[in-house]
């Protein structure tokens, strides 16, 4: 009986392992991420040049594709516009699973943050700058609650701000690239 139980457990574990390994390797060189697994370099789509657009159009965009240049990988991610700037969040940063899932956020915070965001098929060269505090947080939390938490009520906004302040959610501004960052690429 014990043998059968162990064999069943082994098959369940095998299914999980095969799923993760297959999807990870199947996506790693793709032009963009899958639903969960990172993809490779964002290749398709026009590269935006010139001044930044009015980012409020991202209010109608649920996910964007975000590529980190170092290491080269891309993932799907939420986006929030606030006061003319755009931000991306990374949640679950204090849990074990979250640390595995959101490894990119650590890489962005520790590296140069050079990134490319593909929004509605247009690629924008940006630089990820972590925002940990400041007046901007409330506006971002408001937008995050409106778009992704079913409404921008005071409680939802307060929860979002609390999550940022205690480090469970990291926020990055998708800022224009600085000349120093571009030169170091």
């Amino acid at each position: 009986m014990l043998r059968i139980i162990l064999q069943v457990i082994g098959i369940i574990v095998l299914f999980g392992a095969v799923t993760i390994v297959t999807l990870k390797f199947d996506n790693m060189d793709a032009d963009g991420p899958s639903i969960l697994f990172p993809g490779g370099e964002l290749i398709s789509g026009d590269l935006h040049t010139g001044p930044d657009p009015d980012w409020t159009f991202t209010d109608d965009v649920f996910f964007v594709e975000l590529q980190l240049d170092g290491p080269m990988s891309s993932r799907r991610i939420f986006i929030m516009e606030s006061e003319g700037k755009i931000y991306v969040p990374s949640g679950y940063m204090q849990s074990f699973l979250g640390r595995l899932w959101k490894e990119w956020a650590f890489q962005a915070a520790e590296g140069d943050g050079l990134a490319v965001a593909r929004i509605n098929g247009i690629r924008y060269e940006r630089q990820l700058v972590r925002i940990g505090e400041g007046d901007a947080i409330e506006g971002i939390a408001q937008k995050m609650a409106q778009k992704y938490a079913g409404g921008g009520g005071p409680e939802a906004v307060a929860r979002g701000m609390q999550s940022v302040s205690n480090g469970d959610t990291w926020l990055f501004e998708l800022a224009p690239r600085t000349s120093v960052a571009v030169g170091s690429k």
């Binding site: 059968i4 064999q7 082994g10 098959i11 095998l14 299914f15 095969v18 799923t19 390994v21 297959t22 999807l23 199947d26 899958s34 639903i35 969960l36 697994f37 679950y92 849990s95 074990f96 699973l97 979250g98 899932w101």
Partner: protein
Amino acid sequence: MKTKNYLILCAVIVVVWSGILMSVPAVSDIVEQVMIGFLSTYAT
């Protein structure tokens, strides 16, 4: 199940399941949706 048969079953699972995941996008999408739901629930 004898060890030999069990190992054959494991090999078949690896080949068939990875083939399905790579060749049928609808299946991999559903699997990823389930995984992201699991992570969203338990990665807190």
